[in-house]
Symmetry: C3
Subunit: 364 residues, 3 copies
């Protein structure tokens, strides 16, 4: 995986200087960099690390004095993390999955697997499945009957793709992700306690025994292009129509998406986010780790929610949210400040009451 400085600069669309034919075999942090590494020093604060490490080539901030830093070659990254993205593609060897379909896999004769695909051992592919060209499917994956997956998929170990799932191109799924589990949808013969308190906001009448009848998920899951799912993610099928994940959206590890949920394009759902059934989420929404979205609500385009925000009600487009329950981030900050002063405030009110009572003795 060695590349010249010239190749790297071209691949990431950046300027370079010095010995452009110099070859590097890996990327590294400046002070841990070996002589064959490209040191990543996209901010002046890493300049010191360059001296500690062995690298003679580096990815530097725009305008850096590469010669003064003792380097033989440099690439300049006006936006460091963006350069990292391009660079990381170059140096990622990807998982080793042998070409072709492993003999210890069970592929239904009706299934269609695209040209150039690799399928590892202990994989099952069901009746009528269609998988696009150049798919890489690691060991222990199951793809159930009728599922359709686009081109250039990378599906890692133990991923479960259920029946009635349709996925676009360039899909990535980390180990253990589940797409197409049944929705969590149950109903009682009589009105349940949950239905009752939703109407009364907490008041309950007579409590009766109740057991749950299962509503089977007849719908599926539709996933757009360029979607990535983290490890052990769970996405349920819809009840009648499909659960939908829009193109460009990324889900981190252990995210839960309930039945009928609609998520727009280019969203980020970070680790352990949960989206309850039938919620709708717009485009470019970012939910930080451990956020929760209530069932049947709508979260508008471009909403950003901070860590562990619990969204109980509709959120308008562009809103920045924080807290349990979610409020505008600025409101949350203001409330938290007031909260820390609350015990003192209570004391002050007590003192005022004492003063007023003493000084205005017939008050009240």
């Amino acid at each position: 995986m060695a590349h010249t400085i010239r190749e790297i600069a071209a691949a990431i669309g950046a300027e370079a200087a010095g010995d452009l034919d110099l070859t590097v075999a890996r990327a590294a942090e400046p002070k841990m960099a070996a002589a064959d590494a490209l040191a990543l020093a996209m901010d002046p604060k890493y300049a010191g690390g360059l001296a500690e490490g062995q690298a003679v080539a580096a990815l530097l901030w725009a305008g850096a004095d590469w010669q003064g830093l003792g380097l033989k070659a440099a690439i300049f990254a006006p936006r460091g993390r963006l350069a990292m993205a391009g660079l990381s593609v170059l140096f990622d060897a990807g998982p080793e999955i042998a070409a072709g379909v492993h003999v210890l896999s069970v592929v239904h004769p009706d299934a269609v697997i695209g040209a150039g695909a690799s399928v590892g051992p202990f994989v099952t592919i069901g009746r009528g499945v269609r998988i696009g060209a150049r798919a890489r499917i690691a060991s222990h994956v199951s793809v159930a009957e009728g599922a359709v997956i686009g081109e250039d998929a990378l599906i890692l170990q133990g991923v479960r793709i259920g029946a009635r799932v349709t996925i676009g191109d360039r899909f990535i799924a980390q180990p253990g992700a589940v797409v197409g589990s049944d929705g969590f949808s149950f109903v009682t013969p009589e009105k349940s306690g949950v239905e009752e308190i939703r109407e009364t906001l907490g008041e309950r009448g007579e409590i009766r025994a109740q057991s749950w009848s299962r509503i089977h998920s007849l719908g599926g899951v539709t996933i757009g292009d360029d979607v990535e799912l983290g490890a052990n993610v769970c996405i349920d099928r819809g009840t009648i129509r499909d659960t939908v994940i829009g193109s460009g959206t990324k889900l981190d590890n252990l995210v839960h998406v309930g039945h009928n949920v609609q998520i727009g394009r280019d969203c980020l759902l970070c680790g352990q986010v949960g989206v309850a059934g039938s919620a709708r989420i717009g485009d470019r929404v970012v939910l930080a780790g451990q956020c929760g979205v209530n069932d049947n609500i709508f979260v508008g385009d471009d909403v950003i929610a901070g860590g562990a925000t619990k969204i109980f009600t509709n959120a308008p487009a562009g809103r920045v949210l924080l807290g349990y329950p979610a409020v505008k981030m600025e409101t949350h900050v203001e409330i938290q400040k007031a909260l820390r002063r609350l015990p003192r405030l209570a004391v002050r009110v007590g003192e005022l009451e004492k003063t007023v009572t003493e000084r205005l003795p017939d008050a009240g």
Copy 2:
């Protein structure tokens, strides 16, 4: 999977009208319904959608004017979601698992698999396992030594059933669920910091280095009848006696149940709920998504907790809870209202102090 209107009405115990011999092949939302579909319009608000779709038969609200809606046949559902439950059973083809035991499975010769069971590829079934009649076990499942599973189980891809697990009839497990992992139980030679602050509510003495000795889980897991587990659920074994999940209880995706936990009958634990070790939960308890239950506490029968409620202390039967920490839902609503006014309240107190100080100049 085509059914006549007569068959469907009989199966869900509902009245029907019109051409009862009309056949439908699927269920669909009114405006997306093809001509061979039964449109689901259990509320007058969906009446408009019927005109947009192609369906000539529908599941309607009680008393609907089906002829006025242009239909040839109708079924009337006094409780729509309950009708959906029955209907969804009829139209769910279920997963395709070939009859018999797949040749690429590893079944211990001592294991007993009931009549009519289907076992998919890459399944392992250990010594002494007993699985009831008509079980459907999808690919990649492991059932460890001595586990007992009742009749009519549906165990989906990659589910892990550990040793010392006993499960009743009609069990359903979504992909990746784990039953019978070891409990998270560790002890330090000396009193640990955690033990100390539980006694002092936060005060700590001298902090010492400490490492953890493992308490192995010698108990198992006992699960009743009609239990369903969502994708990637985790249920730990008990330390000495079993962790218990009562009949009729349903767990959604990514729920965590710690060692020794006792959960009653007909409960619903929604997505990402966590129940810490040795907690006890009564019957018919409903915990919304992301709720947490502290270790060693008791949650009474019929408790309902809203999204992300964190229950730190015992909850009496019938209580409706919300918040972190959990309080009565009505208290939570009241506190939240007051909180939003808190910054303004602080200003008002400041103004009062100013007034009192100025007007009662020798106050305080």
Copy 3:
């Protein structure tokens, strides 16, 4: 697995009395104990249970009158749970994994598997993998190319070990744990909304469409000795350097550890804890269930956080935390008390204002 009282006392380093040659086959709770069981009654409150059960030997509190309790033999445990740890090792038969490498596994010819290791069916072990002596690897596990695992590992069903993962001795992984998934790291060409609000604490300028470029994870995961991972845990690889888990640290079910995270030694992360990318956690930190740690922050040595604490900012060593956002536990308790009185406080302020306005009529 029968042991004499003498053997058990010696194994756990405790005093014993009575018939030391008496043999017990299992451990049990006092009132459920059969005649061949060692009853666990490490606290006087369990004395009554002894009379209900059949046991003639028991693990008792220090100084207990074992003869008065009708026993033939007793072991005395000055620290009951510590004795349980030792005892549980003796009585845990461990999972049944046949010696040698199962014929239905796929082991790369370059991989080195230590002496005395057991590898179950449907396991894949990649190129260049090294696994230490006496490893026990259950069915359906995958170990990707180049991973290194120390001696005496116990890796349960369906665990995923990715490429570039290095693990020490005595590693335990419960079913479904994933080590070495790719980090959740994406960047937009222009400054993203998330970057903007981190600077402004909530204020946003013009909202633009943006899509995400993937930063591949070139780093790996380094795990020390004596680490245990719960079921369905997820640990991401680092971007450039490794994600690190220190020796002696234990992670419970469904814990999420993001890319580049550094966790110290002897920590406990309980069920469903989430640690966002690049956070650093010291030694002996205990995070109760559902805690969250923000990205890029530092949690000092010996910090203890109560259930569902959300840590947004650096936490100094030894701090005891609770709440969302995390505050000192004593501050949280004080704020919660004040909060419950807040609606009443608001009423009192209103009354004060009325009094002051009426009695000091030209006030304000």
